[in-house]
């Protein structure tokens, strides 16, 4: 019981720290959201119009008063589940704005994550089973190389080759001509727009799974029960899949839960590069516009996602593995 209480206490403490940092970080940057928005609309070769800035400040109700009082106000609103109105999409609520982007990111990122996981785990398992074969060296070396590339860089490369030079795919957006809804036209439109961002994400993300799976699998292959299974004369495929791979998969599954919690982080640059209408691009936009309410809510969403995934993993370990509890004492 003490173990669980401690884990929950730790979770709450981290959550508070995250919320506080969330509040502080945007305010540590220079610049005023109202000035920024007016200047952006006017362009850089224009004098800042004070009347418009004042009106904009009055409209947004941008923070004033001491940092301390702002902090209390912020915590109070948060406690009531009030995330405020987005500056960029004023007067729409932050929750409305996020609701619009959520689906795009969920579909794009969740699909690529799941696919990456499945592909990565399968490749890793096969490479381990055929250890030191040519397949293994190609996969391992290739992974190490590709793993050093940035998804953002890959995105730009894809954009240049397949969108600009060849013109096979649209350059930006989530859709263009069609009306969103369940119709073939829109689905086709959406898929053709999602293809390049998905590929950009898919090139790098399986790497971690491949290498992780291969290593655990190799360790398991050295265990006695594998030798026993082989000695019993079971077919190779059964030994590889039902004995070795199944056990090697367990740590990866935990890792996968954690990865899902943090999936937004990896999508920011790719979504920005393709102007894909998901949460990642929203986050980029919120930073650029100093849209504090939107930025804070998005950061809160991502960080609590990771924290909750962590907590669940911790608690599960406590339940599943008594050694974890004992080690904490």
């Amino acid at each position: 019981m003490k173990y669980f209480l401690r884990k929950i206490g730790f979770f709450l403490l981290t959550l508070w720290a995250v919320i506080t940092l969330n509040f502080l970080i945007p305010r540590l940057q220079p610049g005023d959201p109202a000035e920024l928005m007016v200047q952006k609309l006017a362009g850089k070769d224009a004098q800042l119009n004070l009347a418009q800035v004042r009106a904009m400040r009055a409209m947004l109700g941008t923070p004033h008063g001491s940092l301390w009082s702002q902090y209390w106000e912020y915590m109070g609103h948060l406690a009531h589940g009030d995330f405020g109105l987005s500056y960029t999409y004023f007067p729409y609520k932050v929750t409305d704005v996020i609701g619009q982007g959520l689906w795009w990111t969920l579909v794009l990122v969740a699909c690529t994550q799941i696919l990456s996981f499945v592909i990565g785990v399968m490749l890793g398992a096969y490479a381990a089973w055929r250890r030191n074969s040519r397949f293994d060296s190609i996969v391992t070396l290739g992974s190490t190389f590709v793993g050093t590339l940035q998804p953002f860089w890959i995105a730009l490369l894809l954009l240049y080759v397949f969108a600009y030079s060849l013109g096979w795919f649209p350059t930006s957006g989530g859709y263009s001509q069609s009306t969103p809804g369940w119709n073939l036209g829109f689905l086709y439109d959406a898929v053709s727009h999602a293809a390049l961002p998905a590929v950009a994400l898919m090139i790098v993300t399986p790497i971690g799974w491949i290498l992780g799976m291969r290593n655990t699998m190799i360790m398991n292959l050295g265990e006695d029960y594998i030798r026993l299974a082989k000695a019993k004369g079971l077919p190779d495929r059964t030994v590889a899949l039902r004995y070795a791979a199944r056990n090697a998969l367990l740590p990866s599954v935990t890792g996968f839960a954690l990865a899902l919690g943090g999936l937004l982080g990896g999508a920011i640059l790719v979504e920005t590069a393709f102007d894909y209408p998901g949460l990642g691009r929203l986050m980029g936009e919120a930073v650029a516009n100093k849209d504090y309410p939107l930025l804070q809510t998005l950061m809160l969403l991502t960080t609590t996602g990771v924290l909750i995934a962590n907590l669940i993993a911790d608690l599960l370990y406590g339940v599943l593995d008594p050694r974890a509890r004992r080690a904490e004492r």
């Binding site: 220079p30 850089k44 004098q47 999409y89 007067p91 957006g173």
Partner: protein
């Protein structure tokens, strides 16, 4: 200046930046010809413009012109009048005329026969209603009618027959540009919505030339209104606004005809765009104010006018203009006024010619020597007392034209023996330095439009020092009672002779005190194609500033066929 800024809110947004999409090609292709339909010499079936806002967030649409991001700022709701920032002529729009009765009373005559999209008639009451709404909700008061930001606040705005009368508590001439730019809404629609800035307007009811055809969350199609009050002048049947392309994407789209007009920053547009098809591809950059080098006059040695004079001669403006704008713009006059457009405003003995200072290193060097800034052993000049003199040059990172200007200036100054070091940081943090005053020199924009009080005046008036919370015009922190007096007089004067005299004081101060050193005229960019529509403003026919008067431009466009 003020007018421009407000119009820019709409127009420039449409013309600026960010990624767009391929969608509109089909329309452009299918509608290439001129289907005549009652508009005289042929209609333009469709024009493709960049979206005015980033419309990627699905159904969160809002046409309310007073929201932070109206889906379109230009085509649905209209202003009272429009001032061409180039020749300062005022074009009648929803108001047919205006008159200052003294400097504290302004009367507009409202046009008859103007219809809102729902068919109801615009009256002087709607105009008065709009301005009284801005009294109730200061968040909507972008013209500062009810506070003392530009001149004295209003005490009442009333409809009297066909007229709308603004009564102010004192001289309020500088408010004119803001007032004429305010978008007029109908009492019928906005009378019952509470705080208008928090109202989500999904069924826009404006007086503008277009109405919403369709919007799918990304692509906004606007169709021409046949009952528009000057429908005869609108020859474009459909406008498609989609995506906000960045410079690279815009260039590709412009070249392939997926975009007809753009006002963003494309490097070397003559070579990149015009030369690929000089018959159809055009570019015209109008002078939009002045980009100047602003030293911090609160710091030595910049508080020494002799030092500043030397700086003015030590800037190779021709070279900076070439590198920053590929010679799209012209070298600026030290007078702070755009030449030769405003030559008539200069006092004796100044002319457009003699206010443009040459690049003269020898003269600059002599000035520095004479003023006591001698070269030390290391070849760098020192302060008068012999202490080392270093200059930190705050440069807006990422603004490529500013960076090019900064490089050219730095090279020139170093030849003079001035130890200049560039410190590049994001534009935001350069703005922060404007507020705190912790900088040696930086590149800054100086307004030089038709409102001299809030343009050039704001860069020189003591009251316009930036504060901790606000970036204001007088970044260099120049202070002179005679200038303050002149700016005050400009704010209270509608008489042309008095305006000229007071502008003369400002120009003379620029020529003798060198508070800032103009480098080049800042561009208002117009990059456009003429395969579908012709009639865009050009250097020969500069009827509108291409960056902030697209609505005015629309009334001049007609089919290319």
């Amino acid at each position: 200046m003020l007018l421009r800024k407000i119009l820019v809110t709409g127009a420039a947004a449409s013309l600026l930046l960010l990624p767009g999409c391929a969608g509109s090609a089909k329309d452009a292709a299918s509608g290439g010809g001129g289907k005549g339909s009652g508009g005289g010499d042929g209609m333009v079936p469709v024009l493709n413009l960049p979206a005015e806002v980033d419309a990627s967030v699905g159904s969160l649409v809002n046409y309310n012109p007073y929201s932070a991001k109206p889906a379109t700022m230009t085509w649905l709701y209209e202003p009272l009048m429009m001032q061409n920032s180039l020749d300062c002529k005022v074009a009648p729009w929803l108001a047919t005329a205006y008159k200052w009765e003294g400097s504290d009373k302004l009367v507009f005559t409202i046009r008859k026969g103007v219809k809102f999209a729902d068919g109801s008639e615009l009256t002087a009451k709607d105009v008065a209603f709009t301005f009284n709404l801005t009294k109730k909700y200061p968040a909507m008061d972008t013209a500062a009618v009810w506070n003392d930001t530009f001149g004295a606040h209003a005490t009442s705005v009333t409809a009297q027959g066909d007229s709308v009368v603004f009564q102010f508590s004192g001289p309020a001439v500088p408010k004119f540009q803001g007032i004429i730019a305010q978008k007029i809404v109908s009492e019928k629609q906005y009378g019952s919505v509470g705080d208008p800035t928090k109202y989500i307007d999904k069924q826009p009811n404006g007086t503008g030339p277009f109405k919403v055809g369709s919007f799918n969350g990304r692509r906004l199609e606007l169709v021409r209104r046949t009952d528009y009050w000057q429908a005869k002048k609108i020859k474009v049947s459909k406008l498609v606004l989609e995506g906000q392309p960045d410079a690279t994407q815009a260039l590709l789209q412009l070249r392939s005809g997926k975009l007809d007009f753009y006002s963003g920053e494309i490097p070397n547009p003559r070579k990149a765009f015009v030369s690929s098809d000089p018959k159809l591809n055009h570019v015209w950059y109008a002078p939009n104010g002045i980009t100047a080098l602003a030293p911090n006059l609160k710091k030595a040695p910049f508080d020494d006018v002799k030092f500043r004079e030397a700086m003015a001669y030590g800037i190779n403006k021709q070279d900076a203009t070439l590198k920053a704008t590929y010679n799209m713009m012209h070298v600026a006059s030290q007078s702070g006024l755009v030449m030769p457009l405003r030559e008539s405003m200069l006092p004796e003995p100044y002319t457009a010619e003699n206010t443009t200072l040459p690049f003269d290193l020898a003269k600059a060097g002599q000035l520095l020597d004479a003023a006591g800034y001698k070269k030390g052993a290391d070849g760098f000049r020192t302060n008068k007392d012999g202490s080392p003199l270093t200059i930190k040059f705050a440069v807006q990172a990422g603004w490529i034209d500013y960076e090019a200007m900064a490089d050219s200036i730095t090279a020139g100054f170093r030849k003079l023996g001035l130890n200049v070091k560039q410190v590049k940081s994001p534009p935001d943090s350069v703005d922060l330095q404007k507020k705190t005053g912790q900088f040696d020199m930086m590149i800054n924009f100086v307004g030089s439009g038709c409102d001299y009080a809030n343009g050039l005046g704001a860069s020189l008036e003591t009251a316009q020092f930036p504060t901790k919370s606000e970036v204001k015009g007088n970044v260099e922190r120049f202070s002179d009672p005679a200038v303050d007096q002149a700016v005050k007089a400009l704010q209270g004067s509608t008489d042309q002779a008095a305006v000229k005299e007071n502008v003369g004081v400002l120009a003379k101060t620029m020529m003798t005190e060198y508070p800032v050193m103009p480098i080049l005229y800042a561009p208002a960019r117009g990059i456009y194609r003429t395969d579908k529509a012709v009639g865009w403003p050009t250097e020969k026919d500069p009827y509108a500033n291409p960056q902030d008067a697209i609505l005015l431009i629309m009334t001049h466009l007609k089919s290319a066929k």
